[in-house]
């Protein structure tokens, strides 16, 4: 191939495909390179795709019978747990049942593949139906840069391809982002987590009955507490798919390294087994069949974990390659950040093409656009919440205290009952101090 592209996109996940969709719709010429057999074949997520950008990229996707989302989310539950109990904050609303949905559960091997098909259709409908390509099964080995440091294309094995810009959307294990010098060669474990997950299959009717689902509606349930994670920083999740649930743990990697040792049974899969056997979780997945076990690293949402910069001369970085992710207690957001950053990166490429200028000066518009979008605004605004959630008290103290209070409050055993403030004082005296709670409460109100 002799031609030069407006952009080479490295990675056919959500960030890369979202960028590709914007470029195709605006008649730009691009080459997207995916190392897997097909888009999604290398991707793992929890996962819920939050927000409404999908409806921007694929208008009225919910009317498409082939649309590969699993369920739209109307039911949210946050569960604090100790060894035998669970105390939940539960919210369900039909207001979320109307498109464009607030969030949809996805299985990436299906979802990304479908999204890639939508991009193919957009290319076919564009002014250059034979000028843009999605290539799979190709590993990009190197981003090519000229003597002045401008990115000029990529090398894959013996082949090179050239473009005015390179968009790195390679995912969290961002080897190329490191190679071009935007991120450290070694990224330490303290900003990283590892997710382990199983997809557990059910008869669709069993699933709908068990989780009180209506048509295509779905539930998300996050779990907090040492009883969920074996005391390791992090949490658990359960999301309903069409005829399965995604269940798993997200574990702080540094904590996992420090709390475990080669002799102990504290591996991520041991902890997942224990989580699944917790009495409250067990009753949710009883009778299902494990269809797949998977794992992937994920960033913990600490903004300090981001690359030094997300653009350079001829270069942009989007999605989790830029460590864009947030979990501030409300939802785990990563795929929506990938989608928005991919869209904004592509819009910057279009501006650059229009101006005939792909310099770093021009491409910094991408940084500016991301800063004024919800992505970096929320990441900056909720950093305190991110740090709070990773504190020891959130794993140990709070779930135990709340479950104990629940136990006392709901207990009816033929002895005279105490008033709530008295029960509360008892629980606090057993598990914590008022001072600790005041500090925690103060931090929580300020950070959320």
């Amino acid at each position: 191939m002799e031609e030069s592209f407006d952009c080479i996109i490295v990675g056919g996940g959500i960030a890369g495909l979202s960028a590709a969709m914007v470029l195709a719709r605006n008649d730009a010429q691009f080459l997207l390179i995916e190392r897997g057999e097909f888009s999604g074949s290398k991707n793992v997520s929890g996962g819920v795709l939050w927000g409404r950008d999908l409806a921007r990229l694929v208008p009225e996707y919910w009317k498409d019978d082939t649309a590969a989302f699993e369920r739209f989310i109307t039911h949210r539950r946050l569960t604090l747990m100790d060894d035998e109990s669970a105390f939940s904050l539960d919210y369900k609303s039909d207001a979320y049942a109307e498109p464009p949905y607030m969030g949809v559960s996805v299985l990436r091997s299906r979802f990304d593949r479908w999204l890639a098909d939508q991009v193919e259709s957009a290319i076919a409908d564009s002014a250059h139906p034979y000028g843009s390509f999605l290539a799979t099964n190709v590993r990009v080995d190197e981003v090519l840069q000229n003597d002045s440091g401008r990115a000029t294309g990529i090398r894959a094995g013996d082949e090179t391809f050239h473009a005015d810009s390179v968009l790195i959307a390679e995912g969290v294990n961002n080897l190329l982002t490191r190679q071009v010098g935007l991120h450290d060669d070694y990224v330490p474990a303290d900003h990283m987590m590892v997710g382990v997950k199983e997809v557990i299959g059910f008869e669709e009717s069993t699933l709908e009955d068990r989780f009180q689902l209506n048509g295509d509606s779905g539930l998300t349930n996050e779990f907090v507490g040492a009883a969920a994670t074996g005391g390791v920083e992090g949490g658990g999740f359960l999301y309903t798919n069409e005829d399965s649930v995604s269940i798993g743990l997200v574990l702080g990697m540094e904590d996992l390294r420090e709390k475990g040792d080669p002799e102990s049974e504290s591996t991520p899969y041991d902890l997942l087994t224990e989580f699944k056997q917790h009495p409250v979780v067990r009753d949710m997945i009883q009778g299902g069949e494990v269809l797949e076990y998977s794992a992937h690293t994920v960033s913990n949402g600490d903004i300090d974990g981001m690359p030094r910069e997300i653009y350079d001369d001829g270069l942009l970085v989007a999605g989790e390659a830029a460590n864009l992710l947030l979990n501030a207690g409300r939802a785990i957001q990563g795929m929506d950040y990938a989608m928005r950053s991919g869209i904004l990166a592509a819009e910057t490429v279009l501006e650059a093409k229009e101006a005939g200028d792909f310099s770093a000066d021009m491409l910094q518009n991408y940084r500016a656009a991301l800063e004024s979008s919800f992505v970096l605004k929320d990441m900056r605004r909720f950093q305190n919440a991110v740090h709070l959630l990773h504190r020891e008290e959130m794993v140990d103290l709070l779930p135990t205290l709340v479950c104990d209070l629940g136990h006392k409050f709901f207990q009816v055993d033929g002895t005279p009952s105490k008033k709530v403030h008295k029960l509360f004082r008892e629980s606090v005296n057993e598990h914590a101090s008022y001072w600790e709670l005041v500090k925690l409460g103060y931090n929580a109100t300020r950070s959320l």
């Binding site: 190392r35 897997g36 057999e37 999604g40 074949s41 290398k42 991707n43 793992v44 997520s45 299985l107 990436r108 091997s109 299906r110 990304d112 099964n137 190709v138 590993r139 969290v172 294990n173 080897l175 070694y186 990224v187 330490p188 474990a189 990283m192 590892v194 382990v196 199983e198 997809v199 557990i200 399965s244 995604s246 990697m253 996992l256 390294r257 475990g260 040792d261 080669p262 102990s264 504290s266 591996t267 991520p268 899969y269 087994t273 699944k276 056997q277 067990r282 997945i285 009883q286 009778g287 299902g288 069949e289 494990v290 269809l291 797949e292 076990y293 998977s294 794992a295 992937h296 690293t297």
Partner: protein
């Protein structure tokens, strides 16, 4: 059919995973581990208990060794090893191994 609440051994969990070039007996490893570091100066040998696919094992002499076959490319060892023993790249689609998720 197994019940989802059964204690499913890791080998059975990994048995559910689809790999590229599954038939190839000698896949090109995409991770290289300098186990001399693991077995001399490393204070924790953490890869042996943080790897979700148990690719890092300890033999009867207490020595760490690495085998790539079950690797699901999650990236954990890329960060968890702070001793500089792990060199990581993505598997070559032609000669390498690596995962193809059915659900993901």
């Amino acid at each position: 059919m197994s019940n989802a609440t059964d204690d499913l051994p890791l080998a059975e969990r990994l048995g559910l995973v689809s790999y590229r070039n599954e038939g190839r007996s000698d896949p090109e490893p995409h991770i290289e581990v300098d186990t001399d570091i693991c077995n001399s100066t490393c204070p924790h040998k953490c890869t042996t208990y943080v790897c979700p696919a148990d690719c890092y094992k300890i033999d009867e002499n207490g020595e760490v060794y690495f085998q790539v076959e079950d690797c699901i490319e999650c990236g954990t060892c890329l960060y968890a090893c702070d001793q500089g023993a792990v060199s990581w790249e993505y598997p070559d689609p032609e000669g390498g191994r690596g995962v193809t998720w059915n659900y993901g």
